[in-house]
């Protein structure tokens, strides 16, 4: 199809599809009139059952924890896929950061950036850690915390050199951490099966005080492993992309 043919065919289809979609959307109960019952029930029982004040985390890591298992493995597979697709191939060679294509050199890092990165890395690690460990109480959890932990590592790159970054996170080690994070989640679930409960049952004591860091049973534990997995997955993905951008050059081609 030529571009204009495609555009007309698309427009014809899209008008029909949007009309069809609106027909369905207008059958909804209207904004602000959530009909329940799923969320309303969970809102009522989650605090009592899990002692976790963060209901969304209680759903993610407990009521619908099985979804999150799948979700973690989607990220795990994506990171593995990035490694496969971007692995070094025949005909590609690694070069030092100095390259014949002068305009592709990373500009030298200024002291200001170094300083800023240095100042931010510490707080980011703390913040990532805090978010990961407070899934059961606050709007936070392993995913958000993991991403922020990964960001801290990326800042290390910004501050210094990619090679330092590489030393911080050798691919094999990051891979292992990622696998431990993802596998640990599955293992927590399997431990429940081991003691005769349904898979992923929240079998740890839920704590005395609602909203305490030690509340929520397996929720903070799962959140910790998710945090590990997510941080490692994003470090791996960014590291592979950085390696592509900075180190690998096409060989003879």
């Amino acid at each position: 199809m030529t571009s204009s043919q495609r555009r007309w065919v698309f427009l014809a289809g899209m008008i029909g599809l949007v009309a069809f979609l609106l027909w369905g959307l207008l059958g909804l109960p209207g904004f602000g009139h959530y009909p329940g019952p799923y969320g309303s029930i969970i809102n009522r029982i989650a605090l009592r059952q899990t002692n976790a004040t963060g209901t969304v985390s209680a759903i993610n890591f407990d009521y619908r924890g099985f979804d999150t298992v799948g979700e973690e493995f989607i990220l795990f597979v994506a990171a593995a896929g990035v490694s496969i697709v971007l692995r070094r191939l025949r005909g590609e060679r690694e070069k030092s950061a100095i390259d014949e294509a002068a305009d592709r050199n990373a500009p030298p890092t200024s002291d200001a950036v170094r300083m800023a990165a240095l100042v931010f890395t510490g707080p980011l690690v703390v913040m990532g850690w805090w978010l990961t460990s407070h899934a059961q109480t606050n709007p936070s959890g392993g995913f958000q915390g993991g991403v922020i932990l990964a960001t801290a590592f990326i800042l290390v790159y910004l501050a210094g050199e990619f090679l330092v970054f590489k030393r911080f996170s050798p691919v094999a080690l990051t891979d292992a951490v990622e696998a431990i994070g993802a596998g640990g989640f599955v293992a927590i679930g399997l431990a429940a099966v081991g003691i005769g409960l349904a898979y992923l049952t929240n079998y740890l004591p839920k704590g005395e005080v609602a909203g305490a860091v030690s509340s929520g049973g397996t929720i903070p534990l799962i959140s910790f492993f998710v945090g590990l997995e997510v941080a490692a997955a994003f470090i791996l993905i960014v590291a592979e992309l950085l390696e592509q951008t900075l180190l690998i050059r096409q060989g003879s081609a």
């Binding site: 904004f31 959530y34 969320g39 990171a79």
Partner: protein, 114 residues
């Protein structure tokens, strides 16, 4: 206001698909795919909203306070992770495509492939 958020959902979806269909650059196309997916977040959170209710966190309110639906928020979170994962993988494909074909135009990619 009754249905405005849902009309916005349809708009975002349509615009994103339009972008994919007319795109001549893979990275642009992938960003349009992100837009398509973002319509699902708006839809999910839109259907779970309760007028006048608060966020579902119970550290300083009682259990009987009306709160919005926490389930759709959990679903949207899952969705965001899927987005990040799929986008990273697609971008890796795009990098490799650029190495093999020297272009990121999907139409040129198809004709170069034979």
């Amino acid at each position: 206001m009754q249905y405005f958020p849902f009309v916005v959902v349809a708009w975002i979806l349509a615009v994103g698909l339009y972008g994919i269909v007319t795109s001549r650059h893979l990275v642009h196309l992938i960003m349009c795919l992100i837009v398509v997916q973002s319509s699902t977040y708006v839809l999910l959170l839109g259907v779970g909203y309760v007028t006048g209710a608060v966020a579902p966190y119970y550290f300083d309110i009682t259990v009987h306070t009306p709160a919005v639906d926490p389930v759709v928020q959990a679903l949207a979170l899952t969705d965001v992770v899927v987005e990040a994962a799929v986008t990273s993988l697609l971008l890796a494909f795009a990098i490799q495509a650029h190495k093999r074909f020297g272009t990121l135009d999907p139409q040129e990619l198809a004709s170069l492939k034979g």
